[in-house]
Amino acid sequence: MPWLILLLPLASAALIHLGLKRNGTLAAWLATASALATLVLTYLTPSSADPVKFSWATFEGLDITIGLIRDELAMNMMLIVTGVGTLVHLFSLGYMKDDEAKGRYFCGLSLFMFSMTGIVLADNFIMMFIFWELVGLSSYLLIGHWFTKESAADAAKKAFCVNRIGDWGFMVGILMVWAMTGALSFSQMALPEGVPAIMLGVALLCVFCGAVGKSAQAPLHVWLPDAMEGPTPVSALIHAATMVAAGVYMMARFFFSIDGGEHAFSHLAELFPAFSFQTIAWVGGVTSLLAALMATQQNDIKKVLAYSTLSQLGYMVLAVGLLKPDVAMFHLYTHAWFKALLFLGSGAVIYACHHEQDIWKMGGLFKKMPITAITFALGTLALAGFPLTAGFFSKEQILDVAFKQDKALFALVVVVAFLTTFYMGRLFFITFFGKPRTDHAEKAKEVGPLMWLPLALLAIPSILAGYPFVAEAISPLYHHHPFKLFSAAFLASILAFAGGIALAFVLYFNKDEDALANQPVAKLFANKFYVDEFYAWFVKWFINFKASIIAFLDDFIIGGLLVGGFSRITATLGALFNRAQSGSLQTYSYLMAVGIVAVIFITVFM
């Protein structure tokens, strides 16, 4: 049964790829059916502590297995993946209706479902790494779905390349963990005594590198906004709800295994040196702050959501860094629903406006597409952490944890919460209120039921998923959190929301242009702090530097000393012996006679 969960999407992908590429509609329904079946199977599969597995490759001292882990964490994560996945498939049926390469698209989606399932269910690091790379591949394929568009092809390449950097660290981390614990399987991972703390810290950071790449944390965040070149449902599924959360899931899984199933995580702080998890926390915090700042000045509806995803992922990583993977997973779980909702909502808007993505060319859509607008509003509220929505509960937990452990991070988180409300308010006001600014927005109509149904379905968990009674049932790791009214976290959360929404209302409600756009700071935000430019410059510089070193080696060592040296030695010797070739017969005969005398002398007299 668990194998079926894993293999069903693969079978679908294979079938589509091998036989149904021409018949897009059939392929779409097949993929959707497989996603739905996976969801049902996941729901039906009981969670169990023992992984099912078989040995894949056995060496001396190394036993790599392929196994499926079915504990609470994995199975509930599966619910998110398959749940969001199914709804995205459904949405795609409408959104990609007229696409020429529908078969390829759904093949990619199925492949992604397969790889994501693999990551979630993997019972050891090697298998996880394999699926980790597979996820990267399917992400590459889906970002580059419209590969004839140059920016899409570039974005796909960029995502792939940036992820390689993180994966390199991940692999080193896996090897270090293996070297220290002697086990790759999550269930057998226990730290032996006497491992130097610094090594542990480095290993943790190396493993974290993988999460930095996949979950787009600074400084490897640059690929995620560009990945929005892909179809919007892909952005919703892969680049908002599931794949980018894989980094957080992986870290949680790692802590979980090290912890040994206690779920307390209390002694993790004693195991790892402080610098390692503090680095993680600050990477998360800084990412979330930078991303939120950048989001305030983006004009592309999907870019805003992309930066907000970055920001929320930063929250999760921060929670991981504060050694509360359960809190991180809880936020991951709520975030998946409302972020998928927001992306699909933006997809509906884009679809209705004839693939227009600039929010300043929309406006007044509230009356034209009420269902989309209302669900979008619910998602916005959840993301902003409006009380009694899903996002509120999880964000409040993060605030609480931060407040308890690190005041500086707490302040940072509050600022980010404020900014989140602000930019989401900006997005919502500009898009749905005011007057239509272009013909496309003027003529926009509500999308069909195939597209608004997923929105409506996603709106439900966006509101309800955070409530303890729901969360306990389906959240991967929800631990009942004593909810205190008027705690610092609660108050900060409320204030941040109120401040953000107020500011957004003042600045953007019924406005036709961005009042802040000409501020130099705003330009900095709009240009994403010039990180891309810096990377471009740095990569160019680095490659030039490397090239000049190699050119030096080539010219002087290989060309000059080895090849040139040998040729010069040969030429010199040749010139030397050339002198002997005088062309004079007498010299030759003389030398021959000398040789004869010498030979006689040596053979007879010596």
Binding site: N578, G583, S584, L585, Q586, A593
Partner: protein, 107 residues
């Protein structure tokens, strides 16, 4: 009167050979060089005959050596014929028989 010894013959042969060698080295006229080569061959013949005389079997000299001399003389005759033909051809193309003017093999 005492007959001469083997070593005296060999020394005479060596002397003639050395003179021929000196001629090959010093002279530049290719015809003279050729003559010197003939002289050296003849000196070698003298050695062979001297050893043939010295190696008595059943009271007679060992005639194998003299057969070899016979062959050498034949080859020398052929060599002279070919060599002189080459000299003629050389003279036709280069108008000289001085070896120090024939340095086209210079590297």
């Amino acid at each position: 009167m005492n007959p001469a010894s083997l070593s005296e013959y060999l020394f005479a042969s060596g002397l003639l050979f050395a003179i021929g060698l000196a001629g090959v080295i010093v002279r530049r006229n290719i015809i003279v060089i050729f003559m010197c080569l003939e002289l050296m061959l003849a000196a070698a013949n003298l050695t062979l005959v001297a050893f043939s005389r010295s190696h008595i079997s059943e009271g007679l000299p060992d005639y194998d050596g003299q057969v070899l001399v016979f062959f050498i003389i034949t080859v020398a005759a052929a060599e002279v014929a070919v060599g002189l033909a080459i000299i003629v051809a050389l003279y036709r193309s280069r108008q000289t028989i001085q070896v120090d003017e024939l340095t086209s093999m210079k590297g």
